[in-house]
């Protein structure tokens, strides 16, 4: 039963208020992309055991999407940030590295 703080409205939201939206920071490949690129975009997920960047929507709250960095093995939430962020914030990356020295860093 996760608790995630919605960066848009500030509410510390219970999982039942939220909808999970899968891996974050995907680059959309559309018309003109190769079959490999398009397959990767639609299906190949990092599925990391450990640090994971993901999308959430505060569905039964403010309705806004946001992104979260979470450990899929301990469920620790490192931080949340607005969906309109192309890459994870640097300070968040630094904070995660401090807690998880073995982490290889953010990769799409």
């Amino acid at each position: 039963m996760l608790l995630l703080t919605c960066p848009n409205c500030g509410v510390e939201a219970d999982e039942t208020e939220l909808s999970a939206g899968g891996q974050a920071h995907l680059k959309r490949f559309a018309a003109g992309s190769s079959d490999d690129e398009f397959e990767s975009y639609l299906f190949h997920r990092s599925n990391a055991k450990g640090v994971h960047f993901e999308r959430w929507r505060h569905s039964y709250g403010c309705g806004k999407w946001f992104l979260a960095a979470r450990d899929t093995n301990t469920l620790e939430v490192f931080g949340t940030y607005p969906a309109q962020t192309p890459e994870p914030p640097k300070d968040l990356i630094a904070a995660i590295k401090k807690k998880r020295p073995d982490w290889k860093g953010f990769a799409k």
Partner: protein
């Protein structure tokens, strides 16, 4: 291997059961094997068994990070059915179901396959149409199913409320030869048979790396040292993504938690397996008398083998509505497993970008019922180097081609 039988039990009883031998050996790994299978769950062990039985390949090691059968094989709700809509699914699940029929005899280990019948309730007009369609498909697939009336539903399972105020039962898809089996026994029975064929089951041995040369797999690095192999099969369900990463490729798979629960045991009151997809829950009664209950998956990636309680709540709420008598039963235990869900929620049995490395994963919430069929098809793929008729549709290439095997079409969920 000493055969199990009533006589063997009688013989051992006289000497206070001191003479039973080990069900499977606990060997030190050899330096090299023809085939290494990573994952000693039901699928991995079945793969090994049919490699030996169907292809005579017995120089095989099955490597297991924890204890054999300790993943989803030992955590599921033991439902066996093959009433799938799409032909590739029906073919492999029906193969599995038919192998379950004779598994106890084939393995000389009672896996307690009990074809008590599986019914999938239709509670909307849309579901009625979906299940009628499935019944038509099944008839052509050689899978015996029928669409039954609410009256027959009530007759087969008297504890169902068919006239509930919110979602009355409009009928059901009924597979009389579906049922349940004892999940642990499936893993143990295969393990004993594999061990008897001379295969090495190596437990408490974690694969830490996959070695390769010139695009071909050469072996694995493990917590018990490096082991070479000519062919490698990864059959590790929830952790397939982690292993694929070690081999250098990504899978169209995400790992999420699926939960289940049991009630305290009561005297027999339900002889069939019931799945209610509109309200989202399924239930059967084990031989011990527990009501075995399952529901849906969590929405987020998770490796903890714990799920969120609100899913338990939703499932129980749905089943109390469907089976009002369970309201005064008590939940004894809840648990979770990590299932690997693919882009089309159908499994992957496939060659991989790495030569001589094969993968079997993505069974999601429906793996247990597939174990023997999956092992059968995977063994063929490994032995021949190319998938046979059963495995071919489940290749990794389908995601690039847009050739999906989508079972949610009829049922909404694919358990």
């Amino acid at each position: 291997m000493k055969r199990y039988s009533a006589f063997a039990i009688a013989r051992e009883a006289v000497r206070y059961h001191q003479g039973w031998e080990r069900a499977w050996a606990s060997p030190v790994p050899k330096k090299e094997y023809d085939v290494i299978i990573v994952g000693a769950g039901g699928h991995g062990l079945a793969t090994a068994f049919y490699l030996g039985k169907n292809f005579g390949i017995t120089n095989v090691a099955i490597i297991e990070k924890g204890w054999l059968g300790g993943g989803n094989t030992g955590r599921n709700t033991t439902i066996i059915r093959s009433n799938y809509l799409q032909d590739p699914s029906a073919a492999i699940y029906e193969k599995a179901r038919s192998l379950y029929e004779t598994m106890s005899q084939d393995l000389n280990y009672n896996v307690m396959f009990s074809p008590r019948g599986v019914m999938m309730l239709a509670q909307t007009e849309h579901e009625v149409r979906g299940y009628k369609r499935t019944a038509h498909a099944n008839a052509l697939q050689g899978v015996k199913t029928e669409f039954i009336t609410p009256g027959k539903v009530k007759y087969l399972c008297p504890i169902i409320e068919v006239n509930g105020p919110r979602f009355p039962v409009l009928g059901a898809l009924w597979q009389a030869r579906g049922g349940t089996a004892r999940h642990d026994a499936v893993a143990w029975g295969y393990a004993r048979a594999c061990s008897d064929m001379g295969m090495d089951i190596i437990q408490q041995c974690e694969v830490t790396g996959i070695t390769q040369a010139k695009g071909q797999v050469t072996g694995v690095e493990t917590s018990k040292g490096a082991i070479k192999c000519k062919k490698l099969a990864m059959v590790v369900a929830g952790h397939c993504g982690v292993l694929a990463e070690k081999a250098g490729f990504r899978l169209p798979v995400e790992s999420v938690a699926l939960q289940a629960l049991v009630s305290e045991p009561i005297k027999p009151c339900m002889d069939v397996v019931v799945m209610a997809n509109t309200v989202h829950g399924y239930m059967s009664q084990s031989d011990k008398g527990e009501m075995v209950i399952g529901g849906g998956t969590d929405g987020f990636n998770n490796y903890t083998q714990r799920g969120s309680f609100h899913h338990i709540e939703e499932t129980v709420r749905a089943l109390v509505e469907t089976f009002p008598m369970i309201s005064r039963l008590k939940m004894l235990r809840q648990w979770g497993g990590i299932v690997d869900v693919t882009g089309d929620r159908s499994p992957i049995l496939s060659k991989t970008p790495l030569g001589n490395c094969f993968i079997n994963c993505g069974w999601g919430t429906g793996g247990f019922k597939a174990i023997p069929g999956s092992g059968w098809a995977m063994a063929e793929t490994i032995a021949k180097g190319e998938p046979g008729a059963l495995a071919a549709p489940f290749g990794l290439d389908r995601f690039k081609e847009g050739r999906f095997i989508d079972e949610s079409v009829a049922a909404g969920v694919a358990h």
